[in-house]
Amino acid sequence: MKQLIKLRVNGEDYEAYVPVHKTLLEVLREDLNLTGTKHGCELGECGACTVLVDGEPTLSCLTLPIEIQGREILTVEGLAHNGTPHPLQTAFAELSAAQCGYCTPGMLISAKALLDHDPHPARDDIRQALSGNLCRCTGYSKIIEAVELAAERR
C-alpha cells in the first residue's frame, strides 16, 4: 500500500508517494536522493544511518516516515550552512577522523546531537554518545579528538 508522505528534511519540505513500510533510510536515499545517509546493516546495529529527528539521534533504518511527518529531520547534507561546513565537519576533515568515510555521516550526526545538548562534553561523554556508531577504520581516537576540537571552536 502506497501513501503520500510529507517530510521536512534539512529545512525543506518534501513529498513522496511510497509504500508505507518503506523505512526513512530508504525514502531518504531512494526517493529524496539524499544518499549522504548510509546503511551498514538495516537492522539498527551499526549507527551508520543516524539522522536527527527534532534534534534526537534516530536510526533511520528502524524509522517509518509515516511516524515522523512534519517533524524536523536533519541529515548530513544539512550540516553545512550556506556551503560553510559545520565545525564538526571541519574538525573531522582536519584530523582525518574520516578514513573510508562510510560511518562518518552517522558519526557527525550523533556528535552534533551531543554538542547541541552539551557544548563541552567530557571524553567519557563522547564515548558514551557515539558508542552506537561503529567504525572499522580509525580505532575511534581521531573521531573523539575531532569532536573535542569542534567543541573547543564552537
Binding site: L43, E45, T90, Q99, G101, G139, Y140
Partner: protein
C-alpha cells in the same frame, strides 16, 4: 629531492576529506540510473549439496521480474590466482556452503527481486559436509572441489632452509607449543555493492566497491567471454576493505551477466548477512611451533606447522598458506628454519586475505612462544627480542632481502614509553604487561599472475593554466592513497595541492595499478608518481631556465613558482613555465612506472614473502584482568612503528590506530564461527567488535628510518601494526594472572577456565591440545641465503 620538503611529512588533511564529511562522496550503492534494475542472489541452503534442478517458473511469473540466471548461464571458471580458477559467479553443479550464490533475479525493484528469490524451487542432493580441518582429515565423502593436492587438502607446502636438526641440536633449550587463531572477518562498514551497465554498443561498465579493479577486469572478461577492451571497471570510493574486497566476487559477475541479458543497468547491494558469506577473511589456523635457543636467547632453529581452514574456494589461499610460513625469520635472526603448511577446503565461506594476510596467525604463536622461552631461560621479553633483531641490509635464511630495519629502536621506544621493565612481573595480581613485535611487507614483490610488466604506472598531464591531471589505477579504500598520490606529484613539481586533479581506479582511463592489497600502494604508486612527475619537471625546468637565462641547477620549483635559488625575484609561475615547455615540446604528458627488483629466491614457493621493504612494529599491551569474572580490560596500548618516512604522519597514525583496533578485536572478541554447519552470527550485533566504549588509549610512536628504495624513504603503515597486538595482549594476560590462553579470541570464559585449572594445580592453559598427525611431503631443502644469519659453531 628530500631536502626541505613542502608537503611530504606534514600532517595535512586528506585531499578527499571534505567529500566524505559532507556526504558528497558517492559510494557504489549511492549510484542510481534511469531504467536501473535491482537484483538479489539466492544462496545455497545446505553446506554441501548437488544442485539437481532449479525451477524458475514461479519466480519468472511474478510481475516485475525481468531476468533470472543460474549457474548454467555462467559456465566459465575464474579466480584471482592462476592456480585457483574455481569460481563461476553462480555455482552450477553444487553449492559448497550455506549462502553460496546459486541463482540471481533482476527485477524492477529490490522488494520484487527478493520475493522472486523465495519463489525459486531448488532440488538438492545433500552431500557430506566438511566443517573443519579435522573433518577433512577423518571424514569420507565427495571432495568439495575437483582439484587440489589430495582429497579436500587444497595445498601442501614443505620447505626447509638449512639443517634444522643441527639447529635444534645446538640449542640449550627447545620448546614445542600449539596455538589456534580463530577466523574472523573484515566487517567493512560499507556492504559491497555494484552497478553494472551493458550498453547497446556492447560495452560493459561496472561501478563497484572493489579494492582491485584490475583483477575484476581480468575476471569479468574471462567469465563473460568479453574482450578486455569491452569491459570497464570503475572502483567507487571503497567504504572499508581490509582485504575483503580484493577478490572478484560473485555479485559482480551476476550483476554484469544480468545487465548483458537485459541491456539495462543492474544493481546488487549485498545485505550485511551476505557480506559475511562473501567473506575472504582471516583463515582459522591451527599451528605447532618448535623453537630452539641458546642460553642467551639467540634462536638456533625454528619449525612451524600450520593447518589452514580455507572455506569452499581457493581465493588467495595458496598465497595465504605460504604467508603462514614466510615472515617468521624477518624480525629476529633465525639461522635454520623449517615450515610445513596445509590448507583444507571446508564447507564454509572462502577465507582469503585480511589485513596482515596469513601472517598474524603465526606471529601470534611465535611471539607467545618467545615469551614462554624467555621466562624459561630467565631473560627478559625485551632482551630475547632486542638482542637478536635482524641486521639492516641483510638476508633471512629463507632468502628475503632486508633493507631498512628500525625494529631495535621500536622495541627501545615502546619499552621506555610503557615503562615495561618496571612493570613486567612487578604489577599487582590482575594487572600485567605484554610485549610483541612483528614485520610486514611494503607490497608483494611478485605479481599475482606471472608477468614482467610494472606493478603500477602513473600518468600526468599538465594544462596551460598550470593544472596537473594525475591518473593512476590505485584505489582509495580509506587508507589515503589518493592523498599520497597528490602529495607526491605536488611535491616533485613544486605546485600546491589544489593544482592537482586526480582520476583513479578506472580501467578505461587510468594506467594499471594492481590494487590496494599487500600494503603496496604507497611504496609502488609513490615511486611511479615520482618518476612521472620528474620527467615533466625536467622539461618545465629546462624551458624556465632558457627563459630566465640561468642554468637549470640554479632553479628551484616550489609554491607554484620556478625561481632562481639565489635571487627569488627572477622567477616564472609554474603555469608560465608549463606553457613555455608546451611550446617547446608539444603537449605535456608523461608516464612513470614501478617494478620491484627481482627478489624471489631460487626455490619453488619463493614468490610469497619477498617485498622491496619491510615495516617493523613493537607493541606493549597493559591489561587489567578480573580474576572473579575473567574479564579483560585493555588499559593502554603503546605501539612503535617503523614505517620509513611518514608521507603524512596524521594518516600513518590513523592506520596504526586502526590496526591496533582491529588487532584488539581479533584478540578479544571477533570470530567467524559456525554452528550446525551454518554461520553462527552473520550480523553486526552478534559479531562482536569494539565500540568506542571498549577502545583503550593508544600511544603511537613513529620511527622513521629513510628506506633506500621507498618513495621519499617511505614504507608501509596499513597492516603491519595489527600483527603484534594479539600476542602482546596474550602475554599481558599471562603477566596479569599467570594463565596462558594460546588461542584467539581471549575471552572471559577461557580466562576463568584457565584460572580454575591453575587452582586445581593443573597446567594453567587454554589452547589446542595438539595438531593432527598429518604427513607433509618431504620438504624442499634450500641452502640458506649466504648473507643470512649463521648457526654459530655449526
Amino acid at each position: 629531492m628530500t631536502d626541505e620538503l613542502t608537503l611530504i611529512g606534514k600532517p595535512l588533511p586528506k585531499v578527499d576529506a571534505l567529500g566524505k564529511v559532507t556526504g558528497e562522496t558517492k559510494y557504489a550503492d549511492d549510484l542510481a540510473m534511469p531504467r536501473m534494475l535491482h537484483a538479489k542472489i539466492l544462496g545455497c541452503h545446505y553446506p554441501h549439496a548437488r544442485i539437481k534442478h532449479i525451477g524458475t517458473a514461479r519466480a519468472q511469473a511474478l510481475p516485475g521480474v525481468v531476468a533470472i540466471i543460474t549457474g548454467a548461464d555462467l559456465p566459465v571458471k575464474y579466480g584471482n590466482l592462476p592456480v585457483s580458477q574455481d569460481e563461476t559467479g553462480l555455482a552450477g553443479d553444487k553449492g559448497r556452503f550455506v549462502g553460496d550464490p546459486i541463482a540471481a533475479v533482476a527485477a524492477v525493484d529490490e522488494e520484487t527481486a527478493e520475493r522472486a528469490i523465495d519463489l525459486i524451487d531448488v532440488e538438492y542432493e545433500e552431500l557430506p559436509a566438511f566443517m573443519s580441518v579435522e573433518d577433512v582429515l577423518t571424514k569420507e565423502g565427495e571432495p568439495i572441489q575437483d582439484y587440489g593436492d589430495q582429497g579436500n587438502v587444497h595445498k601442501m607446502v614443505a620447505l626447509e632452509f638449512g639443517d634444522t636438526e643441527s639447529g635444534f641440536a645446538a640449542a640449550d633449550y627447545v620448546r614445542e607449543d600449539t596455538f589456534f587463531y580463530q577466523g574472523n572477518t573484515h566487517l567493512p562498514m560499507e556492504e559491497h555493492a555494484v552497478v553494472a551497465h551493458y550498453t547497446a554498443d556492447g560495452k560493459l561498465t561496472l561501478w563497484s566497491s572493489t579494492q582491485c579493479p584490475h583483477y575484476v577486469h581480468r575476471a569479468l572478461s574471462k567469465a563473460l567471454a568479453i574482450a578486455p577492451s569491452r569491459v570497464r571497471i570503475i572502483a567507487t570510493p571503497v567504504g572499508g576493505g581490509f582485504g575483503g574486497k580484493s577478490d572478484p566476487l560473485p555479485h559482480e559477475v551476476a550483476a554484469a551477466k544480468l545487465s548483458m541479458i537485459t541491456g539495462r543497468p543492474v544493481k546488487i547491494a549485498l545485505t550485511r548477512e551476505e557480506v559475511f558469506y562473501a567473506h575472504r577473511g582471516r583463515h582459522p589456523v591451527l599451528m605447532w611451533a618448535k623453537t630452539g635457543v641458546r642460553k642467551d636467547g639467540s634462536i638456533t632453529a625454528m619449525h612451524f606447522k600450520t593447518f589452514l581452514d580455507g572455506g569452499a574456494y581457493g581465493s588467495y589461499g595458496v598465497a595465504s598458506t605460504y604467508y603462514t610460513g614466510a615472515l617468521q625469520p624477518v624480525t629476529y635472526k633465525v639461522p635454520t628454519y623449517k615450515f610445513e603448511g596445509m590448507r583444507a577446503f571446508t564447507n564454509k565461506p572462502a577465507c582469503g586475505p585480511k589485513r596482515g594476510h596469513g601472517t598474524p596467525q603465526p606471529r601470534f604463536g611465535m611471539e607467545i612462544q618467545l615469551d614462554k622461552i624467555a621466562e624459561a631461560i630467565g631473560i627478559s621479553p625485551v632482551d630475547i627480542r632486542r638482542k637478536f633483531v635482524v641486521d639492516e641490509n641483510s638476508y633471512t635464511v629463507n632468502h628475503l632481502r632486508i633493507t631498512s630495519c628500525a625494529l631495535g629502536e621500536c622495541i627501545d621506544k615502546v619499552a621506555a614509553a610503557s615503562g615495561f621493565n618496571d612493570k613486567h612481573r612487578k604489577l599487582p595480581f590482575g594487572k600485567g604487561v605484554g610485549l610483541a613485535c612483528s614485520s610486514y611487507l611494503s607490497g608483494a614483490g611478485l605479481p599475482i599472475y606471472w608477468n614482467n610488466m610494472p606493478h603500477t604506472s602513473v600518468q600526468i598531464k599538465i594544462d596551460r593554466g598550470g593544472g596537473v591531471a594525475v591518473l593512476c589505477g590505485s584505489t582509495d579504500i580509506g587508507q589515503g592513497s589518493n592523498s599520497v598520490l597528490a602529495y607526491t606529484v605536488a611535491e616533485v613539481l613544486g605546485v600546491s595541492l589544489d593544482a592537482i586533479q586526480l582520476t583513479v581506479s578506472d580501467t578505461d582511463l587510468t594506467p594499471i595499478d594492481l590494487g590496494s592489497y599487500s600494503s603496496r600502494v604507497t611504496f609502488m604508486m609513490g615511486n611511479a608518481a615520482i618518476e612521472a612527475a620528474s620527467k615533466l619537471k625536467k622539461l618545465i625546468m629546462e624551458a624556465a631556465a632558457e627563459k630566465l637565462q640561468l642554468p637549470v641547477e640554479a632553479l628551484a620549483a616550489k609554491n607554484n613558482s620556478i625561481y632562481c635559488i639565489d635571487d627569488e625575484r627572477r622567477s616564472l609561475t609554474f603555469a608560465q613555465a608549463a606553457q613555455l615547455a608546451e611550446a617547446k615540446h608539444g603537449g605535456l604528458g608523461a608516464m612513470g612506472s614501478y617494478t620491484p627488483p627481482k627478489l624471489a629466491g631460487p626455490f619453488r614457493g619463493s614468490g610469497v614473502g619477498p617485498s622491496p621493504a619491510y615495516s617493523y612494529s613493537a607493541c606493549v599491551a597493559q591489561v587489567d584482568v578480573d580474576p572473579e569474572t575473567g574479564e579483560i580490560k585493555v588499559e593502554k596500548i603503546w605501539i612503535a612503528h617503523d614505517c620509513g618516512r611518514a608521507i603524512n604522519p596524521l594518516l600513518v597514525i590513523g592506520q596504526t590506530e586502526g590496526s591496533v583496533y582491529m588487532g584488539l578485536g581479533e584478540a578479544l572478541m571477533e570470530e567467524q564461527d559456525f554452528r550446525r554447519n551454518q554461520h553462527k552470527i552473520p550480523s553486526l550485533l552478534d559479531y562482536k567488535s569494539l565500540t568506542m566504549m571498549d577502545m583503550p588509549e593508544v600511544e603511537t610512536i613513529l620511527v622513521e628510518p629513510i628506506d633506500p628504495e621507498g618513495p621519499f624513504g617511505a614504507k608501509e603503515a596499513g597492516q603491519g601494526p595489527l600483527l603484534p597486538v594479539p600476542p602482546a595482549v596474550a602475554n599481558a594476560v599471562y603477566d596479569a594472572v599467570g594463565v596462558r590462553i594460546d588461542e584467539l579470541p581471549i575471552t572471559a570464559d577461557k580466562v576463568l577456565k584457565a584460572l580454575a585449572l591453575k587452582a586445581e594445580g593443573k597446567e594453567p592453559r587454554v589452547g589446542p591440545k595438539g595438531v593432527p598427525s598429518f604427513v607433509f611431503p618431504e620438504p624442499v631443502r634450500v641452502e640458506p641465503h649466504p648473507q643470512a644469519p649463521k648457526l654459530r659453531g655449526a
